[in-house]
Symmetry: C2
Subunit: 328 residues, 2 copies
């Protein structure tokens, strides 16, 4: 069965600590495709330096992974028993305000871009912003240009007003790659029913997360499968997948970089809080990619049939990537 993780946070391009065990964990879990986090706050050249590091890592570990540029690549790589890496960014800071860089970064292999990370940008408001501007004039151009260039629009960390604007303005279906329904687990990073409905109505996808700060009470396998079932009931089976938000190796320095970047001197807590600031304790049953089979098992236990399990575990994402990726 094809397993797709629509958001892996592990900095696999880093050599310290070695990425090899993290790649072996993907293999051990039978994961056929991950969309990775190439950057959060990097400008154009820093993002290009990151792309080069990911390429080098993939070349050096070609027995386990390969960078995928098309949905056909993903299927081929997964069928070979390896894991396809889709290059995604959790921000589009690489644009540096240039509309024309969308095409250039798409040509360089970028397939997913989140419109904002944790702070407002020239494109729109983040989910942590007290006042969400909505999608800006520049943001509207960027959305259409991402459509043209086949770069998936990710809205996971984006504010709800900007998110609804982007869903409406996009000509292609868009994605929330790693969030949960806020009706079940209240958190700024989770999404209200209104957003889930709009996403569904335009053919979009959500990747449900197992990140402790985002699951609320739905921590056990049984409870988490209930969260999945609720989302499927709300949105329809074909709109739901898995986006773990796993960080296998990062630790505190990486967590600080993603939360704080260079935009603040005071400590920022992202999805955590002052009293709960470190890497989160795992659930015990789905804490890293080796445990993907546990997710499959809990969906079966919940009563999903063979086809439904396959759709949620990976086929929905592959279909979505096939509908949104484009070759220039």
């Amino acid at each position: 069965m094809l397993y797709v993780d629509s958001l892996l946070c592990t900095p696999l391009e880093r050599e310290t600590p070695s990425h090899r065990p993290a790649l072996e964990a993907l293999a051990a879990g039978g994961v056929g495709c991950v969309t990775v986090t190439v950057g959060f706050w990097e400008d154009a050249t820093e993002s290009m330096d990151q792309l080069v590091k990911w390429r080098y890592m993939a070349e050096d570990n070609a027995d386990l992974v390969e960078i995928a540029f098309t949905a056909a690549d993903i299927r081929r790589i997964a069928d070979s028993g390896r894991c396809a890496i889709v290059l995604g960014f959790q921000n589009v800071s690489f644009l540096q305000g240039r509309l024309g860089y969308v095409e250039l970064f798409a040509r360089m292999g970028t397939r997913v871009g989140q419109l904002t990370y944790n702070i407002q940008s020239d494109i729109g408001g983040s989910c942590y912003e007290p006042s969400d501007s909505g999608l800006t004039r520049y943001g509207k151009y960027v959305v259409r240009e991402m459509n043209r260039c086949g770069m998936v629009i990710d809205l996971s960390h984006v504010g709800n007003t900007t998110t609804l604007d982007a869903i409406e303005h996009s000509l292609d279906p868009v994605a929330i790659t790693h969030s949960n329904p806020s009706t079940l687990a209240a958190h700024p990073r989770n999404k209200p029913d209104e957003v889930l409905d709009a996403l569904r109505d335009r053919g979009g996808m959500i990747g449900l997360s197992v990140y402790r700060n985002l699951v609320g009470e739905y921590t056990t396998a049984q409870k988490w499968s209930e969260l999945v079932a609720w989302t499927v009931d709300r949105m329809g089976i074909e709109h739901v997948g898995i986006g773990t938000d796993f960080d296998q190796t990062g630790g505190m320095p990486y967590l600080e970089w993603m939360r704080q970047g260079r935009w603040a001197r005071e400590i920022q807590y992202g999805a955590g809080s002052k009293t709960n600031s470190g890497p989160q304790e795992g659930s015990g049953w789905f804490d890293d990619p080796t445990q993907f089979p546990n997710a499959e098992a809990c969906l079966r236990d919940r009563g999903f049939d063979e086809r439904e399990v396959a759709l949620i575990m990976g086929e929905n994402w592959l279909d979505f990537y096939g509908r949104t990726f484009k070759e220039l």
Copy 2:
């Protein structure tokens, strides 16, 4: 007959003065392909800004031009009665010292890169350098990476020692896109027999120029065709093409930028001199792209047969591009 110009210097991406008349001149001359000058001194993001401008220009003038990424693109675009634009740089300053950027700029569409412009770089020595270091260790990596990524190595402004090193170190044939034989016209920008022979022995190409500072006494159509015939006798018919070095619109500010960049405060004269610093007076018979048919006529007058004229006017370059461009 396919006309290919392996080096056009006109800044067609600039809106002032309007590029449209310069594009119409390419059409009037029946030119099917030009390799253009996207940059001289620009760093990575400045070069990307330039690439975007060229794309916008091509989109806005799609009735006359289209950017070509493959030799098949060139043939198709030329057959449609328009001019194929090959994106080339007269320097690889866009690398900013990063080996990995070769692939990224190739993916963005760059097909030709000159190893140095008028000054020494981290890659090697220029033709104006009192002491030519030869190809550096980094330069050797860049040459092989350009081979892998299908980016043509241009040596026109490169010093002779570095040029010979690059010819030897490259796995693919390389190019001198706009120079003449220094045996006929002594000038630092022209190439000695030793370089021409090495270029030929490795399957390379030279684009002969009509730029006044580089033709010496070979200014008239009759004399210039003698220069062509001499080069063909030395190198063989399949290694010779045309690289005009035309600048249709640039004028002094552009000339100053290309000569001086940001590397000097004192005025630099490039291929000119203190007493001969401005744009050069034309030859009267081949001063801009509208006069490409005059070049064809003078080759016929010199006694080249139909096949030989076609090879020199464009087919040799198309064949060379087919042998060196690669899709990643």
